[in-house]
């Protein structure tokens, strides 16, 4: 009967999975705002934070010299070193500037013994460094010889800068946001529009539907990740130390895990408000504690078991290990197991609770 009513002799095979993915991709790319939030936002964030926390030039040591005889000579000696910022003030001013932190120390030039008196506050960071630096210069000027020859090798280690710490964190954050919004929000939207129910009224296989969502999510993620890594490398010189294959696998695992969590979050929600609320509730602790912007070490030990169990903490730690330290799979095995557990658990629960109807 079917052939009878199919006028076109062309037989074309239709793949539901392919159509599902195509439809999701079209819907996404026809939504310029969504494209911006997914691709533009992380780059803008990276640029802003990278600039704000870029490494500053070496800080100067501010030294005051108390006015008096021989002050001029001391100023001349210290000024030969670029690191010092030297000024002459009377005693009261010197004391006040030290107290309010305008100077790191002041030098009182006295008679012959003691020749110099260093005034500083040892509880202030850098004050001892300043004292030793000033002392070195003045001692050498007075004829002290170095006992052994030394050489300073100054080098800035790439991989140790704040931006290097930041890029893997932002990558993890992007995977989390993309998974939760990309799967969770879209699913609830389909449910509200009764399209989930409409799909259920066809012979569509549920596995095709879910696989379509997942594959399209992975497809959106590729340019997102590449943009971030490329931008980080181009502008800030952030390099990937470890294996690209391992990094790819890790990113896929992370994306899958957050897609599962997104599906779980969306499994029963009936309104966009409800799903946004739950998503923010899920993401907030991870934004703060999972080491996107600063290390998880800053939180007290008591909180560590909780923090280390968070999915984003595991992903960020593993990303940093691979990207910054070039770690191999064995090093990040524990993180990967944790992520697998999160992924499996959330998918299973999501499928169990999933509501097609509204």
């Amino acid at each position: 009967m079917n052939q009878l009513h199919t006028p076109s002799p062309k037989t074309r095979r239709y793949s539901p999975l392919r159509e599902m993915v195509l439809v999701r991709l079209r819907e996404f790319y026809r939504e310029p705002e969504a494209v911006f939030w997914v691709y533009g936002f992380p780059v803008i964030m990276m640029a802003a934070l990278g600039i704000a926390f870029r490494d500053r030039p070496i800080e100067k040591i501010s030294v005051d010299v108390q006015a008096g005889s021989d002050a001029e000579q001391v100023v001349e000696v210290l000024s030969q070193e670029e690191v010092f910022e030297v000024a002459v003030h009377n005693e009261a001013v010197c004391r006040r500037r030290l107290r309010i932190g305008r100077s790191d120390l002041f030098v009182e030039v006295d008679g012959s013994s003691p020749r110099f008196r260093y005034h500083f506050d040892p509880t202030k960071p850098g004050s001892l460094v300043a004292r030793n630096a000033v002392n070195d210069v003045l001692q050498r000027d007075s004829g002290r010889e170095d006992a052994v020859a030394v050489e300073n090798v100054e080098k800035q280690e790439p991989g140790g800068r704040y931006i290097d710490f930041l890029v893997p964190g932002l990558l993890g954050m992007g995977l989390m946001g993309g998974g939760l919004w990309g799967i969770g929000f879209v699913t609830v939207d389909l449910r509200i529009r009764r399209l989930l129910k409409r799909f259920l009224a066809t012979p569509m296989r549920k596995t095709d539907f879910l696989a379509g969502l997942m594959i399209s999510r992975m497809a959106f993620m590729v340019p997102e990740v590449l943009t971030m890594l490329f931008f980080g490398w181009l502008v800030f010189g952030v390099k990937i130390e470890g294996s690209l294959l391992l990094l790819t696998a890790l990113i896929l695992l992370g994306a899958t895990m957050f897609a599962g969590i997104g599906l779980l979050v969306a499994s029963r929600a009936r309104t966009l408000e409800a799903v946004s609320g739950i998503m923010n509730l899920v993401m907030l602790p991870m934004w703060v504690m999972s080491g996107i912007f600063f290390s998880t070490d800053r939180f007290p030990d008591a909180a560590q078991p909780f923090i280390q169990a968070l999915p984003l903490t595991a992903l960020n730690d593993a990303l940093r290990a691979v990207m910054l330290e070039g770690s191999g799979p064995m090093v990040i095995a524990a993180e990967c197991m944790l992520m697998l557990a999160w992924a499996a658990g959330s998918f299973l629960l999501a499928l169990k609770w999933f509501r097609w109807d509204n």
Binding site: H5, Y14, P16, R30, L195, R198, A201, P203, M204
Partner: protein, 319 residues
């Protein structure tokens, strides 16, 4: 006639406080090849009933059989063989007509070519247009196209023309008629009595979750004694009018005649065959016609007679 849809003693109670008894013991049998209408006011339980038949909602109790199969045991096969349009589905605004129909086509093992389906609902010119740009009637036709694309034997349509303008409603009717003319079965719900009357072979009138009347539109209308009514006024005042009335009464299609000195009202089964004879009689009796109206009793009258209420709130307000 084989039965396409059968349900027996169907009940659905939505849990809640208080629980809602949406369907209370409903029996239906839809024959293969007919267009069957479920007519009832808002809240009568039409959507609940049709969604149970579609296998989308579990009944609280009762039995449903579709194309001789049951949902529990033959869901995969039934899904391939039926087409559904839900009362309210918002298709993706930023997909085109053809992309949407192709998506739905991909879910079915066999079916129509998407372009052919789009042609059947007369949306060829909008094929590449985003759904966002479609009118309400065009969106509804697209929704029907998505139900047709699997080339179903049985089509379920929940209020397919609600909220549409008369022109759009006629376009939908045309699509349904064409589908039925291929020997397929349609089950639709509506709260428009004219839709049930003009489109459906048989109609079940439902109210408060029960079938309160069942039959062809004509049977239902006849059941309240209603027919097509022809009312004429003439510039006569007695004798000739009476003779004309007698002549009319002798026609087989005329059920009854009531004559006044200068007016006649008659109930007829087929006004189209009565009217030409009426004009012949007018000229042979040499009577001048001063006015002619026809109206027919409607399913609305059936509903009013059975429930004392009108089908739509608007008409209740006017009444």
């Amino acid at each position: 006639m084989p039965i396409a849809v059968r349900c027996e003693n169907l009940r659905k109670t939505y849990s809640g406080k208080p629980p809602v008894e949406a369907v209370r013991g409903l029996d239906l049998a839809v024959e293969s090849g007919e267009c069957f209408g479920v007519l009832g006011p808002n809240g009568a339980g039409k959507t609940t009933t049709i969604e149970i038949m579609e296998g989308l909602l579990p009944p609280t109790s009762g039995d449903v059989e579709i194309l001789g199969k049951r949902w529990k045991t033959a869901e995969a096969e039934l899904r391939e063989r039926i087409g559904i349009s839900l009362q309210e589905t918002r298709l993706s605004e930023k997909l085109s007509v053809s992309e949407t129909v192709t998506l739905f086509r991909s879910f079915y093992r066999g079916g129509l070519n998407p372009a052919e389906t789009i042609r059947r609902v007369s949306l060829e010119e909008k094929s590449k247009a985003w759904i966002r740009t479609l009118s309400g009637g065009q969106k509804q036709r697209l929704s029907v196209a998505c139900a047709l694309v699997g080339d179903p034997d049985l089509l379920f349509l929940d209020e397919p023309t609600t909220g549409l303008d008369p022109q759009s409603r006629r376009e939908i009717w045309q699509i349904i008629r064409e589908f039925r003319s291929r020997g397929r079965t349609v089950l639709l719900t509506t709260h428009y009595m004219d839709e049930a009357e003009r489109l459906c072979d048989r109609v079940a009138i439902v109210d408060q979750g029960q079938v309160i009347a069942l039959g062809t539109p004509r049977e239902l209308i006849a059941s309240v004694g209603g027919e097509h009514m022809i009312h004429i006024t003439v510039d006569e005042d007695g004798v000739e009018t009476g003779r004309l009335a007698d002549s009319l009464e002798s026609l087989p299609e005329v059920q009854g005649v009531r004559a006044e000195p200068s007016a006649i009202e008659c109930a007829v089964t087929q006004p189209h065959s009565v009217l030409p004879r009426l004009f012949e009689m007018l000229s042979s009796h040499d009577i001048n016609l001063t006015g002619l109206t026809t109206r027919h009793a409607s399913l609305e009258d059936v509903f009013v007679k059975l429930t004392g209420r009108h089908l739509t709130e608007q008409e209740t307000a006017q009444a």
